[in-house]
Each structure stands twice: as C-alpha cells, then as structure tokens.
C-alpha cells in the first residue's frame, strides 16, 4: 500500500517514518495543538478566508434516529450487505463442516474429536464445497431469478405503501458479477437433466425479454425458432429414448418445457400475485434449502474404502469404512457401521476405494453420451478417466 521503502527493502538510508497523525490534529491525551475554531467539522483544518461568513445550519447536524431503528443510506447498506455476504461465504461452510464432522463421527464426542484432530480445515472446506456447490448455486439462482422478477413487478405496487419483497431487495443490492458467478456455478454443477431450468432462471434474473433479440417481430420469431430448433436437435435422441422407456414423463417435461417458459418468464407480474408469490417463495426457498442441507451435512467427509486386514498367511477380514489417519503403527478406520478400528499397519493386506450407494443413477438416459444425472464437470471428468472399475471388495457386506 505504502510507497515508502521498508526497512528491509532498499539499500539506502531509511528515511524517518512519516507521522501518521497530522501536526494539527488532537493529540492522544485529548488536548488540541491547533486553535479550536467554531465552525462545521467538514471545514475544520482548512484555512478559512477572513471576513467570509460561515454557513451554519439552523439546527445542529444530527440525524434524527428512531431508537432501535437505523436508517442506512444506500452506500452504507451496500457495504453492510457485502460484509454480510462475505461473512456468510466464510462462515456457513465453516459451520456446516463442523456439523458434518459430528454427523460423520456418528454423534460420538470422542470420535468427533478424533476427526477434528485429523481432518485438516482446508480438506474439510474443500470437501464441503464439492458436495455443497450444487445446493449453494441452487439457492442463489432461485433467489436472484425470483428477486429480479419480483423487483420488476414491485413497481406496480402502490408507491410507498409496503416494503419491496425481500428477494427483490436482495437482487437489487447484489452486484451483477455475483449473480453471473452463481449461474456459472450452477451451470457446471447441476445435473444435466435440470440444466434446462437454468434457462428461464437466467432469463428472469437478467430480464432478457424476447424483444432484446430483435426489435422487429419477424426476425425475432425466426431467431427464437432457430434457437429452439438447435436445442431440439441437441435433445432429440434423449427425448426419443425417454419416450421409448415410457415412464420418464418428468424427464420429458424437464427437457422440453423450460426453454418455452423462458420466453414468457421475464415479468412483470400482476400486482395481485406479487405479495403471495413473494411470501410463498421465501418460505419455499428456505424450506428447500433446509431440506436439501440435510444430505449435505450427512455426506461423508472422508472417502469410503474397504481395507483387507489379516496376517500374511491366514484368514482375512474386510473392514469397510473411512480411513481417518495412518501412522507408523496403526491405520485408524472409522467403520461404516460405526465405531473406530485401530488396525496395525503390518496387518493391512489391501485397500480399495468404493462408491457409495447414493451415487447410483435414477435414470437410464444420456444426452450425447453424457449421463443426465452427471453435471458438466462430472461428465467431463468421466471423459478424462472413462474406465470405472468397481472392486470386488466393495460388494462385500459391511
């Protein structure tokens, strides 16, 4: 920040440090070195020309503040919002991660302490973000999309009668790059099947009406037609397969309907709808986040492994669980069914990484060889490492 050379920096003589306190400002003990002039604080310290009257307000400049209620000006409000935002960004994952450790330990205090002692904060945070990125982006996308629609509609409310809906206010104070970033996060972490829903959400959040495509009707319709045709061409094989499978109506709806909805979603909504929609969606988004947070909390922090344990020549045993730590003497395994096993390192014969049953797919559909339940990130990952072998040991019971 400072351009002054530091003590360790330059070779030349170090100049004396500049005083951070102006010479004429009050000293620490409260006595003033400069003559005290009765004039507004804003002009203090400035040489005032003699004979020029000082404009003073009729009343002292004290903002009337209701007790318990603070009125913030927009800039201050924005600063506060940004502060809360970053507090949430750092705090929520931290709290969630600690909660997850407790759940992972099976609610046992000693096991939790063992995990706390061995799982590094960075690993914990990274582990949390891998599992929670989807939930996080979903929440943000929902808030920003609804907020933007409500904000544009809120102008229809009688002016000054009521506060603007919460999401609308949130959308107002959020910088565009945060909104864009949350959409990008959603784009790469949402399952492909749900990605079409991102289209109306994006259109709503940025209020992209069809008129923005072209000012004349015919080229606009043509453009929309071309865009929809392109989308249809991309989805056609999957839609055919979904039709063939028969019972995949939800998949069909999720793939076909959202792009059409995107044409109309940008609002504004009628005044009658705004209030109920605002309250219902606020509750719904909150409830959904709480509901979806449960699996995030209960997702394991450590990878699932099966360790084959036994003497060199003799019967072996498979221990299914999460390896907490390994030292020279023991491998500490948090067993899947609960409890901690200290396995002597000499007895470890083999170890394999296993998938968990939550990763089983629910649909048998692909979009151009990308599984519909994979996100773009996961799908790309599978292209980098296409062969996935399930080790035999993973099939054995816990």
């Amino acid at each position: 920040m400072s351009a002054a050379p530091t003590a360790t920096g330059g070779d030349g003589p170090v100049p004396p440090p500049r005083s951070s306190v102006p010479a004429d400002s009050p000293t620490i003990d409260g006595t003033a070195t400069a003559p005290v002039v009765d004039r507004p604080a804003a002009v203090a310290g400035v040489a005032w020309p003699a004979g020029v009257p000082v404009a003073e307000p009729a009343e002292p400049v004290v903002v009337e503040v209701e007790p318990g209620r603070v009125r913030w000006d927009p800039a201050e409000r924005r600063a506060r919002a940004s502060q809360s935002f970053w507090t949430a960004v750092v705090g929520v994952p931290a709290i969630f991660s600690v909660l997850r450790l407790g759940v992972e330990a099976g609610g046992e205090l000693q096991t939790t302490l063992l995990l706390v002692a061995n799982v590094g904060p960075v690993n914990l945070l990274a582990g949390f973000l891998t599992t929670a990125a989807r939930l996080l982006s979903t929440g943000m996308v929902a808030v920003f999309a609804l907020g933007a629609v409500l904000a544009v509609s809120a102008d229809r409310l009688p002016p000054g009668t009521r506060r603007r809906p919460l999401f609308a206010r949130w959308a107002d104070i959020t910088p565009a790059w945060v909104v864009l970033a949350s959409f990008l996060l959603a784009l790469i972490t949402w399952p492909l099947l749900y990605l079409p829903l991102l289209l109306p959400a994006f259109v709503a959040a940025f209020q992209l009406r069809p008129e923005r495509l072209h000012e004349r009707v015919v080229p606009r319709l043509l453009l929309i037609g071309v865009l929809l045709a392109g989308y249809g061409w991309l989805m056609l094989p999957t839609l055919r397969e979904a039709m063939r499978q028969g019972d995949e109506w939800l998949v069909l709806a999720l793939l076909v309907v959202p792009p059409l909805l995107a044409l109309f979603i940008a609002g504004p909504l009628p005044g009658l709808v705004i209030r109920p929609l605002a309250s219902v969606t606020e509750v719904a988004v909150l409830a959904t986040l709480a509901w979806a947070a449960v699996p995030v909390i209960s997702t394991p922090v450590l990878p699932l492994t099966v360790t084959t344990v036994g003497p060199e020549s003799g019967p072996t045993e498979d221990v299914r669980g999460h390896v907490v730590t390994t030292d020279d003497v023991n491998m500490v395994i948090l067993q899947e069914q609960g409890g901690v096993r200290y396995v002597p390192v000499d007895l470890v014969r083999a170890q394999v990484l296993c998938p968990s049953e939550e990763e089983l797919p629910r649909h048998q559909l692909r979009i151009h060889d990308f599984h519909v339940e994979d996100s773009l990130l996961e799908g790309m990952g599978r292209r980098v490492r296409p062969v996935h072998r399930i080790d035999a040991a993973c099939r054995t019971p816990a």
Partner: protein, 313 residues
C-alpha cells in the same frame, strides 16, 4: 386502444403462468433428485441372495474335462473355471482365498445345487427344459454342438451320420449326457460309459472307434492327445446352451450372474477385451475349429450399478 391495454395484461398472465410452471418443475426436479432409483441395484440384489455375508463362495466345477475344468497341479483350470472366477469376482469374491472350487461329476451337478453343497455350478451345464424345473440357469455363456471325434487311423472314414449308424464302428458316449439322447434320436447305437474320458481311453485301447459329445469336451481331449485324434466337422442335433447353474430358490443370485454375464457380453461387443474373450482365448480358442463369440445371455434383469454413468464410447 383496447388491444393496447389487453397486451400488458396478457403478458402479466403469461408471466405468472411461466413463473408458476417453472416453480412446479423445479419442485418436481427437487423431489426427483431425492428419489430412490426405480430399478433394483446390484447391491440390493446382493443383499437378497443366500450368499450375502458368506465368507467364501462355493462353485461346483468339473475336474476331469480338459480345457473346461480340470485339475492341474491341484488347482482347477479351464474355461468354466475362468468363467466361474469372473462371476465370483463380480459378486465380491476375488482371489483364491474367497472361492472354494468343489469338484462335481456330471450327475452330481443337480444334487449338489439342491443339497446346498455348492452355491453355483459352472461345469458344462447345458440348459434344458427338464433341468429348469429343478435348478435355475443364468446364461448361456457358451453355445456348443454335438460333434464326433475319431482316432487318426479312421480319418476320412467316419464323416457323416450314416457312417455312425454303420454297425462296424463302435460309437461311445457318456451316460446321462445330451449326446446319448441325440444319438438315440438319430438311430445311432452307442456304447454308454460313465465319462467321455472313458470313451477316449477305450478308443486308445481299440475298444471303440469314435466318441460323440460336446465339442468343448472333445476339444479338451484333443488338446490332451493332439496327434492321436481328430474332430470330425459333423455337427448334428440341436445346439446346446451352456449356463451357470443356480439353486432354484435364489432368483436374486441368478439375476446377478446373468447381469454380470451380460456385462461381459457388452464389453466384448464394444470391441473391448471382455473377461469371456480372455477366458476363451486362454483355453478353448486354439482348439476349436470355428472361432466363437460370447452368446447373448437370456432373461437379463435391468439392474443399476455404480458404473452406469461411465461413458459408453
């Protein structure tokens, strides 16, 4: 004027509808993402089988059928044994410590499954309607035909069914086998002995002139005595489908075995090296006249497995 005021109203209405529909779809998507898979998973099937939790898998194999199942240095080897190993590994029993190969003779295969002394039988077990009443089959994993093997001294002399009917030639086959019935239906009188090995030994001592059996079994003996015998290209009777025998009371295990055979079949079809192809190339491949591919298993259940999301190409 009128249309001017109705347009914003229409727009407000469509917007409301679009927002509502999007919310409904999002809610449906949310519910869908928390749903259990509709199809049963491999793990679920595993829990239903009688082998779940067993420390070892007992598989009945032949020990006297060269190339298919025989003992070499006390260890079972052969095509059937390789297939058995693949199935065992897929079921979670990898390594010789986890698999117990139980020798079963041809006539012991059904009683062994019924009596629970083995969990599976992989031993040139052909799938027939009659057997399906007492045991379940997964497969087929091999299609075989009846063939005839003659000693080199009779090369060219026995080449048709008509030649087999010639009373000058003594034809031998094993008892209780499909060959016996097939020969009978072609009016070929055959000497019935206990095993194909006995027939081969009989031909070598001059007691018999030809032996009829599965081409796989014959190929095994040909591999053992390559200079003394020759396979006659005379397939007769219907082709036989070899399957993996499973206790009839354990449909889950049957489904799993069929599922894993299908997995190997698909791997082979996608031009990859499949476990089946590896087993075949290492055992039967060099000795059979025509090159074979894995047949498509029948009645394969749709199961969900962890690798379902892997790219197909």
């Amino acid at each position: 004027m009128n249309s001017g005021s109705s347009q914003p109203r229409l727009r407000a209405f469509t917007s409301t509808l679009a927002v509502a529909l999007t919310l409904v779809l999002a809610a449906a998507a949310g519910c869908d993402s928390r749903k259990e898979p509709e199809l049963p998973s491999v793990q679920e099937k595993m829990r239903e089988t009688h082998i779940y939790g067993q420390s070892k898998l007992r598989i009945g194999v032949a020990t006297n059928e060269p190339l298919m199942g025989e003992l070499r240095n006390g260890k079972p080897v052969g095509f059937d044994v390789e297939i058995a190993r693949y199935i065992a590994t897929s079921l979670g029993y990898a390594g010789d410590q986890r698999v117990e190969f139980v020798p079963v003779a041809t006539e012991e295969r059904i009683p062994a499954l019924q009596g629970g002394t083995v969990d599976l039988v992989v031993s040139s077990f052909s799938i027939t309607e009659e057997r399906k009443k007492v045991v379940s089959f997964a497969g087929p994993y091999f299609v075989t035909t009846q063939e005839v093997m003659v000693p080199t001294r009779l090369r060219g002399k026995i080449s048709t069914i008509e030649d087999l009917r010639n009373p000058d030639y003594k034809i031998c086959t094993s008892g209780g086998s499909t060959s016996e019935a097939e020969l009978g239906s072609h009016q070929v009188k055959a000497f019935v002995v206990k095993t194909v090995g006995d027939c081969v030994a009989g031909i070598r001592t001059g007691r018999y002139d030809a032996v009829s059996s599965d081409e796989t079994i014959l190929a095994g003996f040909l591999a053992r005595h390559p200079k003394e015998f020759e396979l006659v290209d005379m397939p007769f009777g219907t082709s036989e489908l070899l399957g993996v025998g499973v206790p009839i009371g354990d449909p889950a295990l049957r489904d799993l075995v069929a599922f894993f055979l299908q997995k190997s079949y698909q791997q082979g079809r996608d031009e990859q090296v499949s476990p089946w192809q590896t087993a075949y190339n290492r055992t039967l491949g060099p000795w059979l006249k025509a090159d074979k591919r894995q047949p498509q298993p029948l009645e394969v259940p749709k199961l969900v497995d962890f690798d379902d999301k892997a790219p197909a190409k």
